[in-house]
Symmetry: C2
Amino acid sequence: MPDETKRTAGPAIYAVDPWVPGKPRVRHQLLSDDERALLAKIASIVRFKKGEHIYDDGDAADAVFNIISGVVIAHRAFAEVEHVMSFLYQGDLLGLSEEGHYSNAARAATAVVAYKIPLPALRRILDNNADLDLDLIVKLCEDLRAAQRHALVLAQKRATTKLAMFLELQEHLQLARGEPVLEIYLPMDRTSIAAYLGLTLAALSRAFRTLVSKQIISSRNRYHIKILDRNAFNRLADARFNET
Amino acid sequence: MPDETKRTAGPAIYAVDPWVPGKPRVRHQLLSDDERALLAKIASIVRFKKGEHIYDDGDAADAVFNIISGVVIAHRAFAEVEHVMSFLYQGDLLGLSEEGHYSNAARAATAVVAYKIPLPALRRILDNNADLDLDLIVKLCEDLRAAQRHALVLAQKRATTKLAMFLELQEHLQLARGEPVLEIYLPMDRTSIAAYLGLTLAALSRAFRTLVSKQIISSRNRYHIKILDRNAFNRLADARFNET
DNA sequence: CGTTGATTTGACCCTAATCAACTTAGGTGG
DNA sequence: CCACCTAAGTTGATTAGGGTCAAATCAACG
């Protein structure tokens, strides 16, 4: 697994479309070494323990975070229910899509290390740096597509379909990160997955059981899933197979 | 209703957060007159009839569109079902969040007039124009928030809640556009609304009927809705009231 | 080894999906 | 302007799938 952040110091933004099935393009670094060095100067490194709270919906937004390692959950309470908006991985930015105040809350799904980039300093650098703008635009377009994919998942009516789509997405992300994909690794807990898919914990659990009992997937443990029947899996998760 | 596009010619990008309840900030134009003139030079004006097809999922993306008037539906078929990703209004951009190929299809919900901006020309201008970048970033952040709001709506389990949230969103958009809000105007057909909310046409129809029979809303006709019981409406649509 | 939180499972209920019939609203052509 | 046609929307009956609540396991950690 190539870890760019070790070769060159400083914030990293990766981009790749993890959706198009059969097209596992490797993600690439959007920032040049110079840009990363520039950002590193104004960034500090922060650590969060698993489950730790990073910022709250409504807090004054004074910094953006760039994940070095670990998984972050962007979430939001609505009508007493927690909704997970996205899972964020190494190289992802969080705290970006707000102005003045964060519009999501964020917490660590695993132990997290991240760059914390103060907003005023970032703004100063952006103003003098046309290239960074372009990179940001590319990243934002990608986040936008991701949000629309999420909407597509949520619009599904069957729990097994949602779950299969989620697993496929995780698999593509893993592939894009250059990790092995014999198994799908799920760093977040079931509750978070359920909140992401718009299901109750019970319904998600049943969806897992259904896929397992149909021999479509198997699970070594809570965090490691293997796809046994790729065809059946694709039929559930992938539009191409449903458009006959 | 102020119509900026009539005062100054050329593409227009408006931005405002239409979500925060009780905070109906008026949208403002992100582009300067100079920028708009610049874009106008490379843009052509195109018209689409109601229901007309604008571009298809997968088409080579050769231009972005900037809506002058009318409503556009960004949609996508998945598993034989049409999903509406967003409704786009005057000043909105479409065809942006893709690279190479459009990732959504688009069709006109009403008669539409739009600027068509060829991508190569746009790229040339962006390269020489730091200000435009910034504007684009603001717009993208806003689109991103909108997509996450959509996800939040889709994650709701009750049809009446989804519908109320949708109506509230439309109301806020209208307010932001400076239109009167005694009634909520729904330019799109029921089928599109259902597809946006992840409901069947039948379920949406029943949700309307439920709200009407509970005296929460009334409808003058298919396109004009009035909110009768603001408290009950907010209890359904608005997180603030559900967090007790 | 006990305690706590996470996950699974079960029983029951309710809502929205489905399928289908019916009504309405918009066009079209006479 | 009206009769007709078609697409859009409504309504009804039925059913399946997920919600809800609660009990039972399981897993992690001290």
